[in-house]
């Protein structure tokens, strides 16, 4: 099947307007008869459910958590970008578009990214109208901060809890539609398969996690908004329950999976402390606005970091990238940290960490405060305290979180940080309408692949999730729905539902029948180790080939030796996890296949064979300027290429020097 991205005609500024002007619409009376299933209630899923409900569609919304408000978007910290140019610092829709394409290392689709930048301002308007308490200046207007990969201040934020506030805004809008009867929420439900009828996605099989029973749901269309697959690495900043199952089942039912090897390793996370570690905690990128990253110049420096003089510190980001300094994009910052640690300059007990130091910011802010208050003979202590207060106001919750986890006070000693898996740019292939290669099946937010190329810029995930849900899908789904008005709801007694439910049941029965000796958790950990070691921050041909063999072997072992206690028709968290890990074991192989195929380096995908003399990622545009979209077949994954065209932003070697 040839991939058609369905990019509208016209100049890039006009494409989205042209598309909307010529869109086929569905009348309000007809919308009431049309049903839509939405899997996931994060920013993309909740905003889509609320908006489609407002438009009059009948929406069924699913989440595995006990409430839609707990989806993992809630944990996003730093902020959300929008090209508002409220700071008059030269921002514009074009600049946000340009920086996103460049930040993604020229592996995203221009038309999608431009649309994202165009609607970014509307998102802020919508959220403020919902009562999202963004940070404000004393004059009462909205405040902005900078994020990595940009030279303007366009990030809107609510302390270090921006994702929480945005999600609660969308959740409120969603619950309002529940009250009005337009949306039904099925919480503690996990999607186990897509039901296709005549080639069109017409429903899902979901497992009620409380009763353990399988349930059938019909929809004229199905939207997958289930987030990313970072947990394939076991340790990541994702929530414990974050999984690939909905996206992976869609893939196995015909939706192509695009650029699976594009995973983002976030530079600033709290380092691993031991074998017991169950997940990693992010320290927002916004901290790099005020924190300076360094390691001692001497490998064996055992002194307390505060006792190491300036001249004996290596601020390696400032040294290597003077133009952007500590605000280089995530992929660049992560690799630079790995480079220093691999070279033996790491700090802390494991030597796999670098310092993120706020001392100079505290001092700078302290002096400003002293000046503001007209304090003549302020002591060092006073300056320090006043400076700490400013930092507390900006990042208080993050500092508190750091202290709870590590037991160290980051106001007094530098934080120790190390990169960790955070976000996945790859995902289900979608066209301009966010439709997958299966008719009636759409994918939004992190679950799709479209806007971030090979590396996502900070504060752009929230923007994309809400853009897709609030401002894109309500239009684009209309093109499909206009043809559905004569299709009455299909009863779930249809043979296709029987067949799909049976397949799901057989798989669960098989999992429960193994009764081996090793826990699901243990298999997941082993998978994570293979992925982190051989398909993590740095990859090479041999390692990837080994990883593929090891994953295959591990998968076989899983299906022969996993042990799941309890029974099927009850709340059984081990069984829930087993289904997810079984899917990760399949996805992991595809990630490695994709990483092996893409023998260039770009963004978060670093192939050791392809680097500049300075050790920077080296793209091969002649060979790899395409989206790798993988088709699942019984005989293995088949590669389809969607060539990328850059009509506006000409690809160049990304430089942040």
């Amino acid at each position: 099947m040839a991939l058609d991205a369905k990019i509208p005609e016209g100049e890039i500024e006009q494409k989205w307007t042209n598309y909307k002007d010529h869109l086929r619409l569905v009348s309000p009376a007809n919308k009431r008869k049309l049903e839509i299933i939405i899997v996931g209630t994060g920013l993309a899923g909740a905003s889509a459910a609320a908006t489609l409900g407002e438009l009059g569609y009948k929406v069924k919304s699913f989440c595995f958590q006990d409430s839609p408000r707990r989806a993992h978007s809630i944990a996003a910290q730093g902020g959300i970008n929008a090209a508002k140019n409220y700071q008059s610092d030269g921002d514009s829709i074009y600049r946000l578009f340009y920086e996103t394409v460049k930040g993604g290392d020229y592996r995203s689709r221009e038309a999608n990214v431009y649309r994202l930048a165009q609607v970014s301002g509307n998102i802020i308007d919508q959220c403020v109208a919902q009562g999202v308490p963004f940070a404000r200046e004393y004059g009462g207007l909205l405040s902005n901060r900078s994020f990595g990969g940009t030279q303007v201040q366009r990030t809107f934020y609510a302390a270090g809890q921006t994702g929480q506030q945005l999600l609660l805004g969308a959740y409120g809008a969603l619950e309002r539609q529940v009250a009005l009867g337009n949306v039904t929420v099925y919480s503690r439900h996990e999607m186990h398969d897509i039901v296709k009828i005549d080639g069109i996605a017409r429903g899902i099989i979901a497992r009620n996690l409380i009763t353990g029973k399988l349930e059938r749901y019909f929809g004229h269309a199905v939207l997958i908004c289930s987030g990313g697959y970072g947990n394939v690495f076991y340790l990541s900043t994702n929530a414990m329950g974050s999984n690939v199952t909905a996206a992976w089942k869609s893939h196995k039912k015909g939706a192509y999976f695009a650029n699976p090897c594009f995973t983002q390793i976030h530079p600033t996370c709290i380092p691993v402390t031991g074998e017991h570690q169950s997940k990693l905690t992010l320290m927002s990128e916004s901290l790099r606005n005020d924190g300076r990253i360094w390691v001692p110049k001497d490998k064996n420096d055992k002194r307390n970091p505060n006792e190491i003089p300036e001249s004996e510190r290596d601020y390696y980001l400032e040294r290597r990238y003077p133009a952007f300094g500590n605000l280089v994009p995530r992929d660049v910052a992560s690799r630079a940290a790995k480079e220093r640690c691999d070279a033996g300059f790491g700090v802390g007990t494991t030597k796999m960490a670098v310092f993120l130091d706020f001392a100079s910011a505290i001092n700078r802010y302290g002096k400003t405060e002293v000046h503001k208050r007209g304090l003549q003979d302020a002591t060092e202590q006073t300056i320090r305290e006043l400076g700490e207060n400013v930092i507390r106001e900006k990042y208080g919750n993050l500092f508190a979180m750091y202290e709870k986890i590590t037991g160290e006070d980051p106001y007094k000693v530098p934080m120790r940080i190390y990169p960790a898996v955070h976000y996945t740019m790859g995902g289900l292939w979608v066209d301009y309408e966010l439709k997958t290669t299966v008719d009636g099946l759409y994918s939004l937010g992190e679950a799709n692949f479209s806007d971030h190329g090979a590396n996502r810029l900070g504060a752009s995930a929230l923007m994309q999730g809400l853009a897709d849900g609030y401002f894109v899908i309500p239009y684009t789904i209309s093109a499909f729905m206009a043809d559905q008005i004569r299709v009455p709801a299909i009863p779930t007694t249809h043979a296709a539902f029987d067949e799909a439910e049976k397949a799901v049941k057989d798989r669960i029965d098989k999992l429960m029948s193994i009764q081996g000796t090793e826990s699901v958790e243990s298999f997941h950990k082993r998978l994570g180790k293979i992925m982190w070691d051989k398909s993590g921050m740095s990859r090479n041909e041999n390692g990837l080939k080994e990883a593929i063999e090891e994953i295959k072997a591990l998968r076989n072992e899983f299906w022969q030796n996993v042990r799941i206690p309890g029974s099927i028709e009850e709340y059984n968290s081990e069984l829930d996890k087993a289904g997810r890990v079984a899917d990760f074991l399949e996805l992991a192989e595809l990630i490695c296949i994709d990483a092996l195929n893409r023998s260039e380096s770009c963004g978060g995908h670093f192939r050791e064979e392809s680097q500049t003399v300075e050790g920077e990622a080296l793209r091969k545009d002649d060979e790899f300027s395409y989206v790798a979209a993988w088709e699942y077949t019984p005989n293995g994954e088949v590669l389809h290429k969607e060539p990328l065209h850059f009509d506006v932003v000409k690809p160049s070697q990304r430089s942040y020097k």
Binding site: Q130, G131, V132, P133, G139, L141, Y171, R176, Y470, S573
Partner: protein, 264 residues
């Protein structure tokens, strides 16, 4: 360190529950409380027993899923903290720790330490939002908002709906949860148009669910992982009184009618 755990086990909502005792060994002080449970569960699986069911997702104190009553305290011994952020350095070798699910009739046990908190969602459905359809919004900087009000609204909005306030209250009151949302929207100009119906409907729903009344004991504030202030309860009471006496309405407003669906 080695510890003794007494944990509430209950097969399902209908079954009778009871405490079971477990010895856990070689727990490192760097582990989180839930990682200690992971270690225990891994052992139970190895022994062919059913692991202890508990809610947990983000493990960074923001999703509000985790909900353990530890030694009689919601979320355990640390202030302003969720269970997932409680670390084992809070304990010493030889300690006995008692772990129960949230205690509230409105939060029935689903299994072991997992409870049903859907009552919170229904309270939000009654009015915990601004009724603004997507696309209707004016430019975000059209209405300046007093920064102090905005900050206070944010503090209230940081509620994670974990239910610790209910679990900690001798009356099982949800006033802190409800007042946090009422306050957030009452403090912002965007919440103004619906302030009367919002507070009346949300309080009504809270009562219908069966939550108790506030007795000014302030356990809720003391145990709230996000430090939500009881001032919000006072603000909600003022809002409620004002709304009840308002001449704008002769009767209690019913939920908004959706013209598109011609029903209310």
């Amino acid at each position: 360190m080695n510890l003794t755990l007494k944990v509430w086990r209950q097969k399902n909502a209908e079954a009778r529950g009871g405490f079971e005792t477990y010895d856990v060994k070689d727990i490192s002080s760097e582990m989180s409380f839930l990682e200690m449970f992971d270690v225990l569960n891994e052992r139970l699986v190895q022994e062919g027993k059913e692991p202890i069911a508990f809610d947990s997702d983000c493990r960074e104190g923001i999703c509000g899923a985790c909900s353990m009553h530890i030694d009689g305290r919601a979320h355990g011994p640390w202030q302003k903290n969720t269970v997932c952020q409680l670390h084992m350095r809070a304990y010493k070798d030889g300690d006995t720790i008692v772990v129960e699910p949230w205690r509230s009739n409105v939060f029935p046990v689903i299994k072991d330490l997992i409870v049903d908190r859907s009552a919170f969602d229904r309270i939000i459905q009654a009015g915990g939002y601004v009724s603004v359809n997507t696309g209707n919004a004016p430019d975000a900087n059209t209405i300046p908002v007093d920064r102090a009000d905005s900050d206070e609204a944010f503090d209230a909005a940081s509620c994670i709906a974990c239910g610790a306030c209910v679990a900690a209250c001798p009356n099982g009151s949800a006033m802190l949860f409800v007042s946090a949302k009422v306050s957030q929207l009452a403090l912002l100009p965007q919440g103004e148009p619906e302030k009367i119906s919002r507070v009346l409907n949300m309080v009504d729903q809270m009562d219908k669910e069966g939550f108790g009344n506030c007795g000014n004991i302030y356990n809720c504030e003391a145990e709230c992982p996000k430090g939500i202030s009881v001032e919000n309860i006072a603000r909600m009471n003022r809002q409620y009184l004002g709304a009840s006496l308002s001449s704008k309405i002769q009767e209690r407003p019913v939920r908004m009618v959706d013209p598109m669906n011609e029903k209310g």
